[in-house]
């Protein structure tokens, strides 16, 4: 099941971190967001068991907006809208 706040915003980029453990998903996501414009959405795929806690914290700390979390069991899909941060 999926809930979207802004389902009309398509991700500008998809980053698959399947198989990677902390801190690599957030490290790679930070690098990806660095190259994106404010307001663009990064689709982040994670299998790290901590990602349901980590990715919301990551977005909050950076000042990005988490517009969607889709928990598919082993895989979690996050939509992160880049904020004013780096």
């Amino acid at each position: 099941m999926t809930t979207r706040e802004q389902s009309d915003v398509a991700p500008a980029m998809t980053l698959d971190t399947s198989g990677l453990l902390c801190p690599l998903p957030v490290y790679k996501a930070a690098l990806a967001l660095e190259g994106m414009e404010r307001g663009q959405v990064l689709e982040l795929l994670c299998t790290d068991p901590g990602s349901l806690a980590d990715i919301p914290a990551f977005a909050r700390q950076r000042g990005d907006r988490l517009v969607e979390v889709d928990d598919r069991g082993e895989l979690q899909v996050f939509w992160i809208e880049k904020g004013a941060g780096g």
Binding site: E5, C22, P23, A29, F58, Q61, G63, A84
Partner: protein
């Protein structure tokens, strides 16, 4: 399924001094070198400013001749990769085996090696403070350290840590 969102206005108020993490890395074994570097890489990825003070055995993580050859203790390390009695852990080759086992765990989990983590931390502008007292006590010179270290005593590190939001000793 969970959905978490922030008010749109929150991004407007983020333009302030970044949070700061001050770490002390005091241990020089392979297993104990990971936690400070993982925390540093994570915090820097969150947009935080990060400094690690490498002191006593932790200075080995910055030592040119040692940082690529950190080891895991095979004795007095009951949680380590070699689950054997101390008497067995003391035999020649046991430390090498414990070290090899941990390196294999890391490789199998696609976790970067310590040298790669050091590069990641440097790319993220993490400050590496090399403890000047340790350098004096253990005869380590500036030339023995990897590039980009700031040599500092406790006063300089405490000055940095005083304005940190999170301070941890590892």
């Amino acid at each position: 399924m969970t959905t978490e969102t922030q008010p749109a206005s929150s991004t407007e108020t983020q333009e302030v001094t970044p949070r700061r993490l001050a770490l002390v890395a005091s241990k020089g074994t392979l297993d104990q070198a990971y936690p400070p570097l993982i925390l540093a890489a994570t915090a820097a990825s969150l947009g935080w400013e990060v400094g690690i003070y490498f002191t006593f055995y932790g200075l080995d993580i910055l030592h040119k001749d040692r940082f690529e050859a950190l080891k895991v203790a095979s004795i007095a390390n009951p949680a380590g990769p070699l689950q054997v009695p101390n008497i067995v852990g003391a035999i020649p080759g046991a430390t090498a085996l414990a070290t090899k086992t941990m390196k294999r765990w890391m490789e199998d989990s696609e976790m970067p090696s310590i040298p790669v983590f050091i590069d990641i931390a440097r790319d993220l502008d993490v400050t590496f403070f090399a403890c000047s007292t340790t350098m004096g006590v253990m005869n380590v010179t500036d030339a023995d350290l990897i590039e980009g270290c700031d040599i500092a005593g406790a006063a300089a590190f405490l000055d940095y840590a005083a304005t940190a939001d999170v301070q941890l000793f590892i």
